[in-house]
Amino acid sequence: MIEFRGVTKKYPNGTVALKNINLKVMKGEFAFIIGSSGSGKSTLIKLILKEEDATEGEIHVNGYSVSTMGRKQVPYLRRSLGVVFQDFRLLPNKTVYENVAFGMQITEALPREIRRQVPMVLGLVGLSKKANVYPSQLSGGEQQRVALARALINKPALLVADEPTGNLDPETSWEIMKLLTEINHRGTTVLVATHEKTIVDAMKKRVIALDRGVMVRDEQKGIYEDESKDGQVHY
């Protein structure tokens, strides 16, 4: 599903954001990428979306060879996966319904299909009643659910979330995590970048830890802190 082979990312200003990352996420997995700010989590997500290009190494996502693909191919890569961001990134001029439908319109889907699919996904995230409301009239949790609905509208095999609960209170965060788990149970691979300890610890999922651009840990059913060695805390 996702494969990084010897990936290094250097920014033009000299910062090395990722160093020799080797990583494989299989179909149907649920994985956390953790680390403090500046650890390279966001860069890793940006590389998956081809918002940035890797300096070295190979990246494969959903059957696309991300490191070698041309600019014209990028939209198709992005359509093949669902993305959720910390700041929701909804279109302010469109209603909830239109925001979700937009995800399908860009694929030139049939209007009939759109009319069928959008209410279904809105039902899945529990927002059927807010279809005709604008994002600014929604709470943070609701906005994130709209974003989730939009990410799911094209039935992607992979869902990538960059700090999806970063702007939400604990309770709403749990709602979102529950939704992500449910989506995962339906067969979608889920990759979540986060630095929220409580969530990671409680979920007992695969944990990939980054520290200053280096992958320091990759555990199945991991927790946020690694206290295995001499009481020192590693992130």
Partner: protein
């Protein structure tokens, strides 16, 4: 691109133009203002060209013969006019016709002609040259011909007119070009502002996998709509102003009995004007949008 996508793009362009009313309004105002100025120069050039041409077409010289010539002598001169290859057409003005014309010209003062008969007036020939360039030569020929009293020819006026119209053309071409460049710049900047205000939106669309075309075309449609509205407004303003001026100016000038300089009839130029306006508006709107959005598509 599928039909439903085209429909989406047009709908989206219209919606956006409406949702961003303030910016659309600003852009329309600028397009309208630029086109009005552009149109004013354009119309001015057209009028000057038209009049120069009309003047050249009307241009004739009149050869006055000595009044005392008898018919045979007059005929001889007429023969030599006929034989002259440089002369296109000519018209003989008899003594009687000259008398009538003089009476007409004098109007109420025509009484002074009472008691005088036509014989004191000269026979004359109105001559049109095939090529006005030959005028000097032909004038000389007639002046040297025996029996010719005088040759009237408005050579100086023609030259002046030609020169003025040449410079009007040069100056208005330069001004129109400068104006077009300046308004393109202003308009693309205004659209840049709209695009800048919506750069986040563009970024989001790119993130969820919209192609550049899918994002770009609604903006272009929006620009074209703004261009067309601007063109129509500019046409309404310029058209009405021109029509009012034309009617008044022509009425005033024709009242004086002169037809040296006239406005081109609005109905002869209106269609051309709206056509040029729409083309310019569409061009400015579309190109302005394309230029402005390019930068923000690189996400």
């Amino acid at each position: 691109m599928k039909v439903r996508t085209v429909r989406y793009i047009i709908k989206e362009g219209l919606k956006n133009a409406y949702r961003n009313k303030l910016m659309s309004f600003a852009s329309i105002a600028i397009v309208t203002a630029s086109l009005i100025m552009f149109g004013a120069f354009y119309l001015f050039t057209v009028i000057v060209n038209y009049n120069t041409q009309a003047f050249k077409d009307k241009l004739e010289m009149e050869v006055f013969l000595k009044p005392e010539l008898d018919d045979a002598q007059v005929d001889r001169i007429e023969e030599s006019i006929k034989a002259n290859g440089k002369i296109g057409e000519y018209k003989k003005v008899t003594k009687e016709e000259a008398y009538e014309k003089a009476k007409q010209l004098l109007g109420d003062d025509g009484k002074v002609l009472e008691g005088i008969d036509a014989s004191f007036l000269p026979v004359s020939f109105k001559i049109k040259l095939k090529d006005p360039q030959d005028s000097k030569e032909v004038v000389e020929q007639f002046k040297n011909m025996s029996g010719v009293e005088n040759v009237a020819y408005s050579q100086k006026t023609v030259e002046l007119f030609s020169k003025v119209s040449y410079w009007v053309r040069v100056i208005s071409t330069v001004l129109i070009s400068v104006l077009l460049i300046v308004s393109m710049f202003i308009i693309s900047n205004t659209i840049k502002l709209t695009v800048f205000a919506r750069r986040k939106e563009i970024g989001i669309m790119k993130y969820i996998g919209a192609t550049d075309g899918f994002i770009r075309w609604p903006f272009v449609v929006e620009g074209v709509i703004i261009g067309i509205i601007g063109a129509v407004l500019a046409f309404v303003v310029t058209g009405n102003a021109y029509h009012a001026l034309e009617v008044r100016f022509n009425a005033d000038v024709l009242n004086m009995g002169a037809d040296l300089f006239t406005f081109v009839k609005f109905r002869d130029i209106g269609l051309q004007l709206i056509g040029i306006y729409c083309l310019a508006g569409i061009f400015i709107g579309a190109v302005g949008s394309l230029i402005s959005i390019r930068k923000y598509l690189r996400v």
